[in-house]
Amino acid sequence: MALLQMQRIYIYALKKDRKQILELLQRRGVVEVRSMLKEDKVFSKSDFSVVKQSLERNISIAEDSLNILNSYVKEDSSLLSALQGRKELPVEVYDSFREKYKPTVDIAKRIIELSKIIAEGKAEVLRLQTQIEIISPWVNLDIPLSFKGTKYTAGFIGTLPKPWTLEEIYERLAQYMPLDVNIISSSKEQTCIFVLCLNNNKDKVYEILRGMDFSHPSVSIDIPPAEQLKSIMQQIDEVKKNIDASIAEMESYDEIRNDLKFLYDYDTMRLEKYEVLETLLQSKNVFIITGFIPKKDSNALKEELTTKFESVVELEEPRKKDDVPVLYKNNGFSEPLEGIVNSYSPPGKGEVDPTAAMSIFYYALFGLMLSDAGYGLLIALACALGLYKFRDTMERSMKNTLKMYMYCGIATIFWGIMFSSYFGDIFDVVAKTFFGVTDLPIIPPLWFYPVEKPMLMLTFSMAIGIVHLLTGLAMKGYQMAKQRDYMGIIYDVLLWYILLISSVVLLLSMKMITNILGVNPNIPDVLIDAAKIAFLVSAAGIVLTNGRESKNWFKRILKGLYALYGLSGYLSDVLSYSRLLALGLATGIIGTVVNQMAAMASGGVLGPVFFTIIVVLGHFLNLAINALGAYVHTNRLQYVEFFGKFYEGGGKVFKPFSINTKYYNVKESTE
């Protein structure tokens, strides 16, 4: 349980090696680059914003083209692909990508262009289809819609609202004979007509037609509608062919999807490199990299850099003011919980890594709250299966999450056996309903049934709480020892230990308390007297010392008294662990209710089917909601009660200059 020691690193090298050195550092991924030196006349930082912009543009082109490609050609990915992790790519492929770079960018651009072509084509088809709708009533007209008349005649082409018969129209226009009326088509909404009259009557006829709500068609074309229709059809065919061709071309790019992904990763890496480059101090021929490196990696890197390149590497212990980044080092049992600590806050300056100390409690508390062997087994098995199946390729963070839940599941199995909870009381219910067994329970609890003895469970929960809190206090002592504040250990840790333990003894000697808890500790009188004295002495000690940062004695005593009042805080902290009882009971009781409901429905031929359905669904829901509860409240107990005793956080996680890719994991070849 510890944090890795960090060192300052200064790398001085020649500019001609800059690219190689940076790529080497990126692949090693052990240096967090930080500016530590000031600019002067010789050394200054350079500006790479133009290059960075073009890289960012390429990254977004690659991303867009991948998204577009995905919407046309689905990538086959299974539900479990999240567990799979990134693909590994040998470093040679990485190096050879430089030749492919330009064509890949072009293809990415082409894909975006194609998607535009397809979208525009679809819009064009829509536009043409509306034209067809307008023209189709006129198909039977064998003259163009724009026809206005001949030398002696005038033509009117247009529509009348509602259906009209030929007679009705002739009736209206009778006085202006001779004329010719044709109904081109008619529907419920409108009647399309063509009226030909003498030029002399043109205005009069038009007036009457206007009176009948005559209107000209919304398009006016110089060729007959039938021909026009044909040409539109042809246009649609052409556009559709174009769309099909574009889609086909798009689909053909499925093969280079991996190149696109790699383009994304490649430029992400390059972008990161330029971001580092911007922070470097450079002169005409020399550049300087400064940053932090874990001590364990520093000598290897120094040797590699100095042998391969003409360079000088200086290592130095971090200075007092340095905001040193945090890198954990834990064993496989506690490592999965680093994420939990990080989501509170990484250890700050001078703080110890709490991960190892909290790990055993974390798993145990989670198990106590879920406390069902069946659920625990499901969780542990699912995680173990995932871990086994994708053991080679899984990302570290995913691996840790699964490991964490696997350990939580194992702890849940343990407590489930202690309290005899297997999917609620499934064994008893099945035995009773289907086999008529009366000799229950089938599997008695290793310890006791919490439902039958809730007070015992409550006492046990609080006892666990006291142990957890005292461990937190011990961590405070450990931390102070590291900071060489030995007097602080006595004042802030030892005195509190004495105070807390003596209060517990005194409380247990009170009849009222033991009656409530249902325990009978039989503490000898000598011990009670000793506890009384210890309580008074430690309380006095706390009043005198806990305000020691104040010089003024009056203030100091007041502060000390206030610190002693913190005892009430411990009381509420301990009571907070009663949630172990409440959440544990919740799982067990809901599980039992589910089984009872299933047993009620188990009569008849189909009974076992209903039974199974209810049991599976009910327990799935119970597991989901209670696992969520257990997770949230385990975190709460760690963050509020445990960390509250010694831990503040505020550090920064070590973020080395490395390969942060999305799709590929560039694998270092063994050189």
Binding site: P454, I589, I625, V632, R636
Partner: protein
């Protein structure tokens, strides 16, 4: 007179249990729906936060479950789902009283917890990496629902042992 009243003892006990399932259940439904409305807004902006938002939305759903537990324990002791149904008037009243902590605290804490959860969703929307902290704020409110559940469990268990 007392004998007639004693017939109604079990009625009071059932009323207590029913209210324990009912009132916190209503509150949880309200709270989860409010959380869902707020969460839906965040998901439109950033669908990858779904899992985390869902957890925050579900936090105030537990009060309904606590109510259910109390109702179930009560039912299993008054002859509805087991136990003896010989409940005197006073005993019935005691069962009703034992259910009151979870009825009242369950209701108010679910609503309050949902307000805290919605504020935490705000944290999540702006700083998705701060989920651990965002989750703790609403979880603090839940403590009181847990304490009320605990007292109701202990009280219902205790009442069954009293001989009146």
């Amino acid at each position: 007179m007392m004998e007639i009243l004693n017939d109604y003892g079990i009625v009071l006990a059932v009323i207590g249990a029913a209210l324990a399932a009912l009132i916190p259940g209503i509150a949880s439904a309200k709270a989860v729906s409010k959380g869902g409305i707020a969460g839906a807004g965040i998901i439109t902006e950033n669908p990858s936060l779904f899992g985390k938002v869902l957890i925050l939305q579900l936090l105030p759903g537990t009060q309904g479950i606590y109510g259910l537990i109390i109702a179930f324990i009560t039912f299993s002791q008054i002859g509805v789902l087991g136990g003896s149904n010989d409940i005197s008037f006073v005993k019935g009243l005691l069962y009703l009283a034992a259910c009151i902590p979870i009825i009242i605290v369950g209701y108010t804490s679910a609503i309050r917890q949902c307000n805290a959860a919605i504020s935490s969703m705000g944290i999540l929307a702006k700083r998705p990496d701060q989920f651990g902290k965002a989750m703790i704020f609403p979880a603090m409110v839940e403590t009181y629902a847990i304490l009320a559940t605990l007292i109701s469990i202990l009280a219902v268990n205790g009442v069954s042992g009293i001989n009146i």
